[in-house]
Amino acid sequence: MYTIGIDAGSVATKGVLFQGDIVAQVIIPTGWSPQKASKTVCELLLRRAKIKREEVKKIIGTGYGRVTMDFAHKGITEISCHGKGAFFLNNQIRTVLDIGGQDSKVILLDYKGNVQDFIMNDKCAAGTGRFLQVMANLLGAEIEDLDQLAEGARPQNITSMCTVFAESEIISLLAQGVSKESIAAGIVASIANKAAFLMGKLNISGEVAFTGGVAKSRLIKEAIEKKIKRPVYTAEDTQVVGALGAAVIGWEMLQG
């Protein structure tokens, strides 16, 4: 008996096959069709674990693409799923910071991993993965190279939080001859500031987990730790935490 959790995000679609623990996991780009990506993820999981579809008793969809997954038994928001996923990995977690492709959120959990309160950015993509991607492209770098570029550099203050305004700000900084490295370090600091600001709006407690694609950056994680003066826990694979949470919720449903 297995469950599957699929998290169709704006950038990547993630899947976890679960049986009390992670059996297999998959990450692919979402592309233009979250429905197609979700189906592909489901098939890849079954193939990797060499199991039949009938052995999967619950499929839970999450992420913005959850509404398109007609094959899922239930759609649950990424807020509940990230909370559950982080809690499954470390049951001391009471605060989850998730920064994905187009949104960022802070989730407070109770001692059972249920959501107690949360806050999420509105329509604007400030301080999210999309912001990081646009800025990295501006520096001619890939998002994965940003840490390497920024390491050890003196951060240039970037005042604008808005993706569009920050873009023009960086263009003028480059024109003034500010080094790419300093700008990269400035971008890291800017995202950490925004995340700390969001956390400051809620009374955070317990251990803090950082999830989502942006949590792959070690420098951003460290900058946030410095800002909030607390250690931050990141999963081995920060991107699949939401899908894992969905699979765990499915598993809990089976146990009744």
Partner: protein, 435 residues
């Protein structure tokens, strides 16, 4: 809608633009309202009112004016309808709840201001609102800076009277508001040529009290375990209360209430069992702003009450009917109106008490705090409300949104997550109760 082109033409409307406005409403209304299952029969009247939104009622106004009657427009629950009725005039609450009017509003207003004001001004400037075109006097008030300055602009397009609403509730503020009521009385008497006598004002008070009482009766049906009517439908009725004929409206709502009370007795509900019950609090929702209610009720929640101007602030508390002299009647009016807990007042602790009281009365599970963008008073008041609700253990989420649909996806996700949270805590409470 029937053919009212001659009527619209006589009101000096921009017919071409008006056609564009009318073209979108039926589909929009159909998607949001007619798609609901198991709606009460009594909603048919309100469907009809909407289908005739710029027709029948506008014609009634035109006939009233042909016989020398006057029409007064307003934008706020502080404008005393009782006096308007007492002078044999008709009061219409103007709306301003659509994106359609915003570009016209922005021709004369700054962009970074509340969409309600932008849309209201745009409705006048574009000549596409037949109610606005029928108004002989527009009655403004001083509930916010945006409106105050908008009146100065609108004065160039329509005769204006502004009532100076005090922003505190001390004794001298009551005296000041009573003065304003006397001035308003003089103003309408001059406009209509009809004297407002004690008898007439007593009748006006009675008639409007009846309208408010029937709305309270409607809201009482939402305290039932099985909700006999959706929040969306009730919102529509409250919105229509602002411009429909008060007597006809009162009778139609009473008919609906009978059906709803019968549904309650039979245990018939329109939501599935366990649906989280939501109290909405915040800024008004003018027609056709059904966005928040629609999002809540298509994301797994049910709205059980609105602590808004298109909700309880409009109808709670009646005017005393015992007043024998004009002085006593005016004092009764001042008492009722200054009992409204609008965020324009400081301090405004009464609103927090109202929210907590309504949360209990309507057996809500959570509160959605709604604010239009750039509505400083309501946006600022969130902090105090949130603190008080946290202390009382009442879950609350803040949604700031205008009329456009660009943020619908993210708001739906936030609402769904909020309801998931409420369902878990509700289940926990039930387990604790049975243990």
């Amino acid at each position: 809608m029937g053919d009212y082109r001659d009527l619209w033409q006589s009101l000096d409307m921009d017919l071409e633009k008006h056609d564009q406005l009318c073209a979108v409403l039926p589909e929009f209304y159909g998607d949001i309202y007619l798609s609901q299952e198991n709606r009460p029969e009594g909603m048919n009247y309100f469907n009809f009112v909407i289908s005739e939104i710029h027709g029948l009622r506008v014609q009634e106004l035109a006939e009233h004016r042909k016989q020398g009657g006057k029409v007064l427009g307003s934008f706020c629950v502080f404008v005393p309808d009782e006096m308007i009725v007492a002078a044999d005039a008709i009061g219409v609450g103007l709306c301003g709840g659509s994106d359609f009017w915003i570009p016209d509003g922005e021709r004369v207003l700054p962009r970074n201001m509340c969409p309600l004001i932008k849309a209201s001004v745009g409705a006048k400037l574009s000549g596409t609102c037949p109610y606005f075109q029928s108004v002989d006097l527009l009655v403004g008030e001083t509930t916010c800076d945006g409106k105050k300055k908008a009146w100065e602009i609108l004065e160039g397009y329509v005769p204006m009277h502004v009532m100076d609403l005090p922003q505190m509730k001390r004794k001298k503020d009551y005296l000041h508001w009573m003065d304003e009521l006397w001035l308003f009385k003089e103003k309408i008497e001059k406009l209509t040529g009809n004297e407002i006598t004690e008898e007439k004002l007593a009748k006006g008070i009675q008639r409007i009290n009846q309208k408010r009482a029937v709305l309270q009766r409607l809201y009482n049906t939402r305290k039932a375990e099985n909700l006999p009517i959706s929040g969306k439908d009730v919102l529509l009725i409250t919105q229509i209360a602002f411009y429909d004929d008060p007597e006809r409206f009162t009778a139609k709502v009473a008919e609906l209430c009978e059906e709803l009370e019968d549904r309650i007795a039979k245990g018939i509900g329109v939501f599935k069992e366990g649906t989280p019950r939501i109290l909405v609090t915040g800024t008004p929702m003018a027609i056709p702003n059904w966005k928040l209610h629609h999002m809540i009720e298509t994301s797994g929640g049910a709205v059980v009450c609105e602590e808004t101007c298109t909700g309880t602030r409009y109808f709670e508390n009646l005017v005393k009917e015992e007043g024998n002299t004009l002085e006593e009647q005016i004092r009764g009016l001042a008492d009722r109106y200054l009992g409204i807990n609008c965020a324009c007042f400081t301090p405004n602790k009464g609103r927090i008490d109202d929210i907590i009281r309504l949360y209990k009365e309507y057996r809500a599970d959570g509160v959605v705090y709604y604010s239009l963008p750039f509505c400083h008073t309501y946006a600022l008041e969130y902090k105090k409300v949130k603190e008080a609700l946290d202390q009382a253990g009442i879950p609350v989420i803040m949604v700031e949104s205008d009329y456009s649909l660009q943020d619908a996806g993210q708001i739906k996700t936030r609402l769904e997550a909020f309801f998931e949270m409420l369902e878990i805590s509700k289940a926990k409470k039930e387990v604790a109760a049975t243990e």
